[in-house]
Point group: C2
Chain length 368, copies 2
Amino acid sequence: MMHQAAVSLGVPTRFLAENSDDPAAQVSPDVTIGSARSANDLRNFGRSCAVMTFEHEVVDLDGIATVDCLVRPSPAALAVVADKLSMRAAVAAAGAPGPPHVAATSVEAISAARADWGRIVVKLARGGYDGRGVFIDPSDAVVAELVTRSPLLVEPMVPFRRELAVIVARRPAPADGGLAEVAVYDPVHTVQHDGQCAEVRAGEVDAATALAAQRIATQLAERLDIVGLLAVELFQLDDGPLLVNELAVRPHNTGHHTIDACVTSQFENHLRAVCDLPLGATALRSPAVMVNIVGNDNGDDPRDYLAPALAAHRDARIHLYGKHARPQRKVGHVTVCADSLDIAAERAWQVVEALHGSMDAAPNRRRQ
Amino acid sequence: MMHQAAVSLGVPTRFLAENSDDPAAQVSPDVTIGSARSANDLRNFGRSCAVMTFEHEVVDLDGIATVDCLVRPSPAALAVVADKLSMRAAVAAAGAPGPPHVAATSVEAISAARADWGRIVVKLARGGYDGRGVFIDPSDAVVAELVTRSPLLVEPMVPFRRELAVIVARRPAPADGGLAEVAVYDPVHTVQHDGQCAEVRAGEVDAATALAAQRIATQLAERLDIVGLLAVELFQLDDGPLLVNELAVRPHNTGHHTIDACVTSQFENHLRAVCDLPLGATALRSPAVMVNIVGNDNGDDPRDYLAPALAAHRDARIHLYGKHARPQRKVGHVTVCADSLDIAAERAWQVVEALHGSMDAAPNRRRQ
């Protein structure tokens, strides 16, 4: 998706990919095989780049600080978000609201938190992703194992009404000390299934909440001196206030609808920001729902059901990533724009079900 | 642009390009260097394809009939549109309206047409493009030279009010003899400068005219058994009726706005059609104006003015093709969506002027 955005602007891209069948390597002509977890690979790759940026956070943080080209967002920003404890500290230091939390490295510390808060959530400070590394009210036996793997972040269960996300793009700060250009998207309502983002609803959040979320994101981007995208995931409490739950400094799953629903996609604005080019309008052109296409347990490949999925609704925008459909793996997404969010969601899910071979949605699938 | 569309659907593409710096070769990983004007290159290329299609019409028509894979649109359809005389005959045979015309191979025949019609237009039957090969009221000396180059199509000057274009996508006809699925876009008003399309206005054409144009395009696609896209350029006469001027069987300049202004782009629908996949909705999401970025005489390269152009309007969608900016060469386009077509046009031209280094639109261009 980054490559598609770069093609339109004529920005030449080179991708560092671990394997020749990685998504970017399948669709772009200039690919270096190597790992962002290797300082050596990063340094070699950086020699041929003007600017280096990232679409994931599995990066050697010491190595990235040693490359020769511009790195945007900065190694410091990458380091802050790579560790949930440092991220929580940075959010607090920036004056943004977050849930109560403690760091823990022992079973005893977690027992103490449980005694204070009742139900708790325990998160690996490093390496979690898509609900992995998050444990709700874990047993002492699980905790005893977790403390051997990573420092832990412990929080009370937050009684939230819904989860929101907001993305802001930010250019480098000008040399004269002025404010950097930012462009912030409308916040979305994100619906999780099994701890993983399943559905994103754009155009649902009321104006007051949207403004509050946008202020938090903009403030964090400035205080953390982010260049590129900052995605902020938030809890909205029952009575309205927002708490920052997660940060990411890259194009984010909760912004994939921007490709089809906004004037400028998150990918294009990320590229513009890291290339220090003027940012594009973020306006939502229509209410929209994005649903992730996730591998299921029966081994079916959604790519085999493209025809019935396209037939399921003519308005649906299908994006497949060229990934094999392992269970729980995100292998694509579907966005539907419609005046009504419920209609958009119904259509998007119908198409996703067709991609999983549902006979109801796709009686003709066997033609494939 | 075809590659960008293919990436989303996960349709694997391979491009035949004459040079390694051709636009498609710059952005896609699977490129064969060769010429569509060579029967041998087409045959070799076809051996590795399931379906072959085209984004231009400079194709060896004998060679294309000998390749081993599916060719969509068919070699017969490519041949019809490659020659303006056969195209006019096919339009008439399909029952669609066209201007009066005669074939001519001599100065005398053209003098006779001039005597009948007054002002005439003489067109090379083969090899014209973007206004090249079209001669308004040519002198006898010019005519004497033209008849040595190609059979000629001679027509009276048509007193048209405006030029329109309409694009229809069509899948292969089903084996059971039923009707093939078609999807037709809203007609656009096309504005020519020096015989070349300069500006496309989408959302301007009244409903009755739109329906008439769409009927003509659909009827032609069916009668010519087009698979893929058919672009129909039309004259609208002062009193309303439409005459077919040109046909193209590929993604067309008058449909570039569909990338940003329609639910499904012409490129995606072309791919869907030639892959026999269900077509996407063609609905125009907003009035839109597309302006071509054309190389000018001062040798400036629009790519050098990307930053001031992006700054010129945040809503503008800029598409650069990776082409060197020779005079009169189309090297990109800009689309702006807005509720008002005049506002969209003003913004789009402002961005195009910034890409040509206008100081008014882009006082900061020297920062580049």
